[in-house]
């Protein structure tokens, strides 16, 4: 028993290094996708203090809109542009209808409102585009679909999916451009000001409403990118929403306000759950992936309540 827990997994890693590499790669890709969802959360939380539960559903909604438009005869790239437009309208609508009237409410009320938004988007998306899962239009968007296999040794084999590589590249580009946007542009500076202190930002003439609409739009774009990537891995349907829950432990690890935290947290959860499932999951019958991420986050929190990148909390009265 002890051997199975403490020694055997490592022996396996050593004996099948190609497989171990493959596991790491899968963990990396899953982590990137978790990180992208978490990134959407962080953007909104930073700027408005809203824990946007609907981020997961926005991923599906964006993907569904894209595919749905394409199914109705819109060319892929036009559909992509239209979807970006839809996300813009959504951002504006959310700011107008949900955020503005609820300003200054307690966290839990805002959280509930975003859960209400989740329900609305599920109903709306299925109402317009139908409930059946759809295939992501990967090829039409010019994304790679094949795979490359690296063979070495007698049975050594590592397979990399091109779409996964693309996902990683796009994630890096998104994070980099967000970084530039935050640091180099006027709106980005305003955004950071809002994140620091709403009142102070208001007093120097920054429009909160405008900023909120912009972050929701940015989160919508991140959601679209995530939706395309994840949709290409499985399919586009609201069942995907459950996968989006994984972004929550990622946030816990990375902290609600840290973009690097979201990335690192995503990778930790991605690696952790794949390695845990494949090398230890078998001991308890497998399937531990469904909760391992949360337990990792929970244990982590017990030792570092402020998250990976958060500052130590000094309680004051």
């Amino acid at each position: 028993m002890l051997y199975d827990i403490f020694i055997d997994p490592f022996v396996q890693m050593y004996e099948m290094p190609d497989f171990f590499l493959q596991v790491l790669w899968e963990g990396f890709v899953a982590g990137i996708l978790y990180a992208l969802i978490a990134l959407g959360f962080v953007l909104i939380f930073k700027a408005s203090g809203v824990f946007n539960f609907a981020q997961g559903i926005m991923v599906v909604f964006a993907g569904l809109t894209l595919v749905g438009l394409h199914e109705n005869g819109v060319p892929a790239y036009v559909a992509l542009l239209l979807t970006i437009g839809v996300m813009g309208v959504l951002a504006y609508g959310v700011e107008r209808v949900v955020m503005r009237p609820l300003v200054n409410q307690p966290d839990i009320i805002l959280l509930m409102a975003t859960i209400g938004l989740t329900y609305f988007l599920i109903g709306f998306g299925e109402f317009v585009f139908g409930g059946e899962p759809k295939q992501m239009i990967t090829e039409e968007l010019g994304l790679p679909t094949g795979s490359t296999a690296f063979e070495f040794g007698e049975r050594g084999l590592v397979i990399l999916q091109h779409i996964d590589i693309a996902a990683a590249v796009i994630a890096v580009i998104m994070v980099a451009s967000l970084g530039i946007f935050f640091n180099k542009t006027r709106i980005g500076r305003a955004l950071r000001a809002v994140a620091d202190d709403h009142q102070a930002a208001l007093s120097v003439g920054i429009s909160l409403n405008q900023i909120w609409a912009i972050v929701w739009f940015a989160a919508g774009l991140v959601a679209l990118a995530t939706g395309i990537m994840w949709g290409a891995r499985s399919d586009v349907s609201f069942a995907l929403e459950i996968v989006a829950f994984k972004a929550l432990p990622v946030l816990i690890l990375g902290g609600f306000t840290s973009i690097p935290g979201a990335i690192v947290g995503g990778l930790i959860i991605g690696f952790g759950e794949k390695i845990g499932e494949l090398y230890w999951g078998g001991l308890v019958g497998g399937g531990i992936e469904s909760w391992l991420a949360y337990i990792i986050a929970l244990i982590f929190l017990l030792f570092r309540p402020q998250g990976l990148f958060g500052e130590r909390i000094i309680e004051r009265i």
């Binding site: 329900y119 109903g123 109402f127 308890v284 949360y294 986050a297 309540p305």
Partner: protein, 358 residues
Amino acid sequence: MFYREAGQFKTSYKADQALMPILQDRIGLSVILVVAFVIIPAFANDFFLTSIMIPFLVFSLAAIGLNILTGYCGQLSLGTGAFMGVGAYAAYKLTTMFPDANVILMVLLSGVFSAAIGAIFGLPSLRIKGLYLAVTTLAAQFFLEWCFIRIGWLYNYNASGAIEVPHREVFGIVASGAEATPIVRYFIVLCITAGIAFLMANVLRGRIGRAWMMIRDMDIAAELMGIRPLQTKLMAFAVSSYICGVAGAMMVFFWLNAAEPSSYSISLSFQILFMVILGGLGSLSGAFMGAAFIWILPVFLKFIPGTLGIEIAAETVEHVTFMIVGALIIFFLIVEPHGFARLWQIAKQKLRVWPFPY
């Protein structure tokens, strides 16, 4: 005008501390109880009892349970569904282990197990607060769900992986199983829910209820006033989980008759959370109002078009229901973030001054 306490003087602290110090409230409650215990059983059909009243009462109880934790003690939980599941599985194990025992007693006892599990998952609450805690309760949700699937002992190794409610009689009346009539189930559920609601009202107006609210409103100050945070929070977790566990056991024993692990999934947790928030955090009557709204509205939306002779495809109804429920949640949060309970108070205030608002 109609709701006016003028002339009702309280001459003792005892009278002032009563659950309902105002006569009109007492009359209102009596009317509700008469409707619940006499009128509904006398006139309602099976559909109304099984699909509206029983689920409504079960969910009300679960909402009370969550309200204790979230509304009164301020600890946000997304694991309600799993705690309800613990109650259900515990009740199932108890009744199959002791087939001759009183099934109602077993249902009430099952809550003890969910209370224990709830307290264990409440331990991190000492260090983790707010939304962070909510995410950690998801660990409870998903871990327990996994247990319901993987631990065959819990469902007696049924090939179906589900728990099926056995036939049990209490004092010669069939109380559970397929032969139990809706009216019997309704009375059991009604008595348990009303009983627990009453007992909780007692706890909440006393020392313990106050301690929970102190933790909720300002945990640091509460601690400086001598409240032990861990004990108090754990107690809230335990009491809340007990109630949720009983509700979960009632859900399978007196309503659904069989349950798969997916019956106690995260969506159930959200359903209950909606009820609590819309009904009003920190309000027992709000729990009932929230449950009525969240449960009955979709049923209403689903069956009304049919009875009015409008042909709408079933899936469209479902989609529209989602949209309407989502939109109404946002709408009510904007109109009154403190829920129906506050709306009701405002309405009472209006009645008090009507017809002269000034």
